[in-house]
């Protein structure tokens, strides 16, 4: 019997630009079990990234309650949110995933710098993760020497290396051709199989079909 990892109740996010108020999320209610794999789809500007940011404790809801792993983080401090992100949540973005002038190993081991983990353990875990995404031969390549597909694989390795409970992927295949995208999705599916909860944002229904559940969004609401 798995327990609830993400529990959102009436979560809203509004941005006020000058006089205008933009409702990016409105009254989202959502529950995610540990190890669950869900996809979020919807047109551009529907609030998918905003939802992911709040879920990943990068941002706070304007109103509503968000419990992550049983802890109410709706009003947590910046420091507290960083603590939760560190080690418990992994991010994979569409682009700008890596630090250009750092090599693969340095990029993948970056999260450990902010965790209470000693250097040898960090290096072993990072190297294992890189091995799993099939880049063991590229450890010391700088990230600007890598192809788009390889960059995303390094991003996956970095997200999974600390063994987080939740991995959030915002259009991870958005910049890739379908074949490379397939391989990236294979890796993400493996994460799910290994027991990590995954939330995937995508515009591609074929990509989304890998998930157990697909949520559709429009104007900040699930439809």
């Amino acid at each position: 019997m798995s327990h609830t990892l993400v529990s959102m109740a009436g979560v809203s996010k509004t941005y006020s630009l000058g006089g205008n108020v933009v409702q990016a999320l409105c009254e989202i209610t959502l529950c995610l079990e540990e190890g669950q794999f869900v996809a979020v789809m919807g047109p551009s500007g529907s609030g998918k990234s905003t939802l992911l940011n709040i879920m990943g404790c990068l941002d706070r809801p304007t109103s509503g309650t968000y419990l992550f792993d049983g802890e109410n983080v709706s009003r947590s401090s910046d420091e507290n949110l960083s603590d939760i992100r560190s080690g418990k949540i992994g991010f994979i973005f569409q682009q700008f995933n890596l630090i250009q002038h750092f090599n693969v190993l340095e990029n993948v081991s970056m999260p450990f710098l902010y965790m209470d983990v000693d250097q040898p353990t960090a290096m072993t875990k990072s190297a294992q993760a890189i091995e799993k995404v099939g880049l063991g031969h590229r450890l010391s390549h700088k990230s600007f020497e890598l192809s788009g597909g390889e960059i995303q694989r390094v991003a996956i390795a970095r997200a999974m290396a600390p063994e987080p409970k939740l991995i959030l992927a915002d259009e991870p295949t958005g910049n890739l051709d379908s074949q490379t995208g397939e391989r990236i999705m294979d890796l993400i599916s493996q994460l799910h199989v290994a027991g990590t909860a995954v939330v995937l944002v995508t515009h591609n229904s074929q990509v989304a079909s890998r998930a157990q559940t697909i949520y559709y969004m429009k104007d900040g609401c699930f439809v």
């Binding site: 960083s82 560190s86 902010y114």
Partner: protein, 419 residues
């Protein structure tokens, strides 16, 4: 252990990032480099200059007041000699002694223009005749023998006391008991002066200190003091003395006494002031004041270099932060707290300034070695001359690194990661 590892990781990240922009990093520290260099040179040179001055003043004796004859024009000489006689006389000394109660001891010196026959080639000894009290007033030390005595002066003994350098350059005949020929008189060496307390010779013209290592002291003839007639021993300029030394009983009385002495001298020589009064204690105070000015100047230079150097670093760090917003966003997303970002960017500033400090000190050291060939006094590379600039550069670097580092923590990761 973990902390140490993290520290080395931060250092590694900082160095990697700085090396990415090698030229820019080097340029950014120029201000610090030159600032540190300037401060270091100023400290070392100033310290040397101050020590030099203090040493000379100390040699003059802070309880002493000097009255020195100075050159005046021919017409003035005529005016002066019509009334009261020209130059410094024994009479002046006697009047001052009786007119000023705080004068404890008096001495006089007369410079002589006399040739030494068969003397050393490499040095030109200065021949002076002095009163027996001279040695005491100037606290001259003897390496051997005795100083000129009262008897020598009264009997006009043909004896002399010579400086170390002269003794050395004369070899055998420069020892005690040796004979030195000055003009057509033969003087027996009765004393050899000890090491002069002056650090090194030759740079003493500016104040009244003399180089005793190259001096020959003869007894000041009683005839000169009493009658003001010509010096019988060696051809002189007549009645005038070159220098009067008045030793005051206590340093606290020196300034008051100097006023009394000035008054007496003015009444004795109302027309032409053919003398100069030198008060070492006053010089000492002036030097202390000058030192304070120097320190103030130094602090100003230091603050300016600190400001310029620090602003240079701040400028570059601000540019770095805005260029690396993506990196900051990624780091924040993977769990970095604001304080981690702060430490990362502070580390970079600190490395830059430290590097600037080290390069500055190396260049400063080289500059001082080169400078030491051109300036007469000793250049001391003191510990302060190294620690002080390094300290201010580090403080400047950290201080001016705080704002860019703070800017880095204020970067919103969501904004930074949006395309």
């Amino acid at each position: 252990m973990v902390v140490l590892c993290k520290l080395s990781a931060y250092l590694k990240i900082a160095i990697m990032s700085l090396r990415l922009n090698r030229l820019r990093s080097m340029l950014s520290i120029l201000g610090i480099v030159f600032g540190v260099m300037a401060v270091m040179v100023i400290i070392a040179v100033g310290e040397g200059m101050k020590n030099e001055a203090l040493q000379q003043i100390e040699q003059l004796g802070i309880r002493n007041i000097y009255i020195r004859a100075i050159e005046v024009t021919a017409e003035k000489k005529v005016v002066a000699s019509k009334n009261h006689g020209f130059g410094l006389t024994w009479d002046d000394l006697v009047r001052i002694r009786s007119g000023c109660a705080t004068v404890e001891n008096v001495a006089a010196l007369k410079e002589l223009n006399a040739a030494i026959i068969g003397g050393p080639r490499e040095i030109t000894p200065q021949v002076v005749s002095v009163t027996p009290s001279y040695g005491e007033a100037l606290d001259l030390r003897l390496e051997g023998g005795r100083f000129i005595s009262q008897r020598d002066c009264l009997l006009q003994n043909e004896v002399c006391v010579i400086g170390r350098e002269i003794s050395r350059s004369l070899g055998r005949s420069g020892q005690l008991g040796g004979i030195i020929r000055i003009e057509d008189h033969f003087f027996k060496i009765v004393g050899i002066l000890g090491m002069s307390r002056q650090g090194h010779e030759g740079k003493t013209e500016n104040i009244a200190a003399r180089n005793y290592d190259e001096m020959i002291l003869l007894p000041l003839g009683t005839m000169v003091w009493l009658a003001g007639a010509g010096d019988r021993q060696v051809g002189g300029e007549g009645q005038s003395l070159t220098e009067l030394i008045l030793q005051i009983d206590a340093p606290e009385h020196v300034l008051d006494s100097s006023r009394v002495i000035k008054r007496i001298m003015t009444s004795l020589h109302p027309d032409v002031q053919a003398y100069q009064i030198i008060i070492p204690l006053e010089l000492l105070n002036q030097t202390r004041k000058a030192k304070r000015m120097l320190t103030l100047f130094l602090v100003t230079i230091a603050s300016i270099s600190l400001l310029v150097g620090g602003v240079g670093i701040m400028n570059i760090m601000l540019a770095t932060v805005s260029e690396r917003k993506k990196e900051i966003g990624i780091r924040r997303a993977v769990g970095a707290k604001k304080k981690h970002i702060l430490v990362q960017f502070l580390t970079e500033s600190a490395i830059l300034t430290f590097l600037g400090g080290v390069i500055g000190i190396s260049l400063g050291g080289m500059a001082m070695i080169i400078l030491s060939f051109f300036i007469p006094w000793q250049v001391d590379i003191t510990v302060e001359a190294i620690i002080f600039p390094l300290l201010i550069s580090s403080v400047a670097g950290l201080f001016f690194g705080i704002y860019p580092a703070y800017k880095a923590t204020a970067v919103d990761p969501i904004q930074a990661l949006r395309s």
